[in-house]
């Protein structure tokens, strides 16, 4: 694992454990968008038998099944570099199972309550209804150019926010954090979480740029062909729900 100093370092945590739902695409998207600014980007893959670097600018966590989720929590809780990076202000973007382990607690497949990493003021229990599977559309609560956030959710647990965490969108279609929450995700300092797969940043270009601005101060991209293509994808997804 080589890390040079001039480039933006995107650390993809445990793709072998939390890589079931295509969320590693978020790393591909962020790296390419950095490159479009003529700045070099580096995706650092950290597998479950490797040590986490403290020198990342962005840390990504994806969705995964219950067993690997507990294992990823075990590994991260013993990883001083991850806590150190968060203290230094690195940005964390976590999806689904990744979101759940960053909270105070969550439930696993056997219904046992597991303690989380306590990075985000959120707790996760069995969802209050059927497993949430389908398109998720929300009105953005973030200061970004995109009014609507769109993704695909697939989770059997529901998350309640408290304390300093704020949701990232108000749910218009689908479930989001839970049936009675009517919101999706969490934002707390430099940690942003969501239940959106797709992967989330494939449709939500402005969310990708928001993460890059928060992490390394890059301004949102405008008028490039990839953003244009993503705008088409986003509007096609929104229209499909109307």
């Amino acid at each position: 694992m080589t890390v040079s100093d001039s480039s933006v370092r995107i650390v993809l945590l445990y793709p072998d454990l939390l890589g079931t739902y295509g969320d590693s695409g978020n790393a591909t998207i962020l790296a390419k968008r950095v490159a479009l600014h003529d700045i070099s980007a580096e995706v650092v893959l950290v597998h479950s038998d490797e040590t986490v670097t403290a020198e990342g600018d962005i840390y990504l966590l994806g969705g995964g099944e219950d067993g690997p989720q507990n294992y990823a929590r075990d590994l991260l809780s013993k990883e001083p570099n991850f806590a150190r990076a968060i203290d230094k202000g690195a940005l964390v973007f976590a999806v689904c199972a990744g979101f759940q382990i960053l909270g105070d607690s969550y439930v696993d497949a056997r219904g046992e309550i597991q303690s989380g990493l306590g990075v985000v003021d959120a707790k996760t229990r069995r969802i209050k209804g059927d497993r949430a599977v389908g398109e998720l559309l929300g009105e953005s609560l973030l200061p970004i150019s995109q009014r609507l956030l769109s993704g695909f959710e697939n989770h059997g647990s529901g998350t309640t926010l408290f304390g300093r965490s704020q949701p990232i969108s108000r749910t218009l279609r689908g479930v989001g954090n839970d049936y009675d929450a009517h919101v999706d995700g969490a934002l707390q300092g430099n940690v942003l979480c969501t239940y959106m797969h797709g992967p989330a940043l494939a449709r939500n270009y402005a969310l990708a740029d928001y993460l890059l601005e928060k992490a390394v101060g890059l301004k949102p991209l405008e008028g490039d062909w990839l953003t244009e293509l993503q705008m088409k994808l986003l509007s096609e997804r929104i229209e499909s729900l109307s």
């Binding site: 454990l17 739902y21 590693s24 695409g25 390419k32 599977v133 990839l226 293509l229």
Partner: protein, 443 residues
């Protein structure tokens, strides 16, 4: 109506009669469906059959010597290969792709038995991974072929490890079943180890992302070129009875059986062929019929694929441009077909299509697990079709390939695509996209 039960089977008379009525109704429905061209006529009749007589599968499979093929990718092709190798016998097969219990039941019901025939009857069935335990318990196959296991349709399937576990339990319970399994896939080997004496075939495996941790002790599984093993416990790749040598020759227990050449492309199809040979050989041995491996290899040389997979179709274009249609449903399948396209020196035009209907899985996130980046040296532009063409377009864009989304019918897009004369377009589509196009091509 044919007399169905002449083999002295021990099924109760009432059940036989109810089954006979159910078969009659199901066949009639199938005829109507085929007559009005509203489907291939396997799903609805099969469901009606089992609704009218829930034991129909058990009744109809009496006296049929069966082989069942399951796994994430390659079921239809491998099943068709085995049918081909057994074609001198009376065969029942679900070649319409209906691969749940009702599909197998209707495959048995639709065949009209030759009256007075005392030929051996063979059943060659592809079975959905989740349905394998139930179908195997009812049909009592002599041989089960296990291809591979990887992520597929996550919006409705549970994790693949759960499936491997259920298979393993099944083989523990049905000890007489002969398992023919791909030794290059750790999850398949884990399942096959539930049986007492499986036959291992090295049929290849390029997709490791679902087997990175050991199914026995959860430690890391280490993969090298064509070997794998757990880093902690003694779970490792078993030695295969069947494998391919470097020159494409089939080796069985250190003895060369001859060369394997296929008309259809794809390294994974060589693996499917190897499994088909091993399974047919076992089935023949267990049912006391002769099997000649040289003859089998010769027969497979002219195998043309099944259900339009790898078929070449005319597009009716004056410039003679044709299309080769290929089906891939999940990341392992797409990655394998990308290898195939890159190995093909004449595949100069590539078209891809993506839908997200229920049969495809509603979540398209998995396309980010496909390594489209590998295509970027050869293809600067790729035409994308289907309901979810923009998902593909964004994915390809991030792989440094210029996507060209085309709306409207897929056939129109192929007919109007700019190509050099007399070339063949390579088309890769997922399930419903592929069948939409095929329907138009056959019209």
């Amino acid at each position: 109506m044919t007399i169905l039960f002449e083999d002295g089977s021990d099924v109760k008379l009432v059940r036989k009669l109810r089954t006979a009525v159910a078969v009659f109704v199901a066949r009639a429905i199938s005829k109507l469906i085929t007559h009005f061209g509203i489907g291939q006529g396997g799903t609805l009749p099969g469901r009606v059959l089992l609704a009218l007589e829930p034991n129909a599968l058990s009744v109809l499979s009496q006296g049929v010597i069966s082989v069942v093929v399951s796994g994430t990718n390659g079921k239809t092709t491998t099943t068709a290969m085995i049918s081909d190798l057994l074609s001198r016998y009376e065969i029942y097969t679900n070649d319409t792709g209906a691969n749940m219990d009702f599909g197998v039941a209707f495959a048995l019901a639709r065949a009209q038995r030759v009256p007075g025939s005392h030929q051996l009857r063979f059943g060659v069935f592809e079975v959905d991974e989740a349905y394998l335990p139930a179908v195997a318990a009812t049909v009592n196959p002599k041989v089960v072929v296990l291809l591979n296991l990887s992520r597929d349709q996550l919006d409705r399937n549970s994790e693949v490890r759960m499936i491997a576990k259920r298979w393993r339990d099944l083989f523990g319970k049905q000890s007489k079943l002969k398992v023919v399994a791909n030794c290059d896939d750790p999850l398949v080997v884990y399942a096959a180890m539930g049986s007492s004496d499986p036959i291992y075939v090295s049929s290849g495996g390029g997709w490791h992302l679902d087997a990175t941790s050991c199914p026995i002790c959860e430690s890391k599984v280490i993969f090298s070129d064509c070997d794998w093993g757990c880093s902690v416990c003694d779970f490792r790749r078993p030695n295969p009875s069947y494998s391919l040598d470097q020159g494409g020759g089939v080796v069985r227990d250190h003895e060369s059986l001859g060369e394997l050449n296929l008309l259809i492309p794809g390294r994974f199809n060589l693996g499917n062929a190897l499994l088909a040979i091993a399974a047919t050989s076992e089935l023949a041995r267990l049912s006391g019929v002769p099997f000649n491996p040289e003859e089998a290899l010769r027969r497979l040389q002219s195998f043309e694929g099944s259900g339009g997979r790898y078929s070449i179709y005319s597009l009716g274009r004056p410039d003679g441009v044709k299309v080769r249609t290929m089906l891939a449903k999940n990341p392992a399948g797409w990655n394998a077909l990308i290898d195939t396209v890159l190995e093909d020196p004449i595949a100069d035009r590539l078209v891809m299509a993506l839908n997200a209907n229920v049969a495809d899985g509603k979540d398209t996130s998995w396309i980010w697990d496909v390594h489209f980046e590998r295509l970027s040296n050869r293809y600067k532009r790729i035409v994308v079709l289907g309901d979810r063409k923009f998902d593909l377009a964004v994915r390809l864009g991030y792989a440094d390939i210029d996507p060209m989304p085309v709306s409207g019918s897929q056939l129109d897009a192929l007919q109007n695509l700019e190509c050099s004369p007399n070339t063949t377009i390579s088309y890769i589509g997922n399930y419903t996209a592929f069948y939409d196009l095929r329907k138009d091509l056959l019209r």
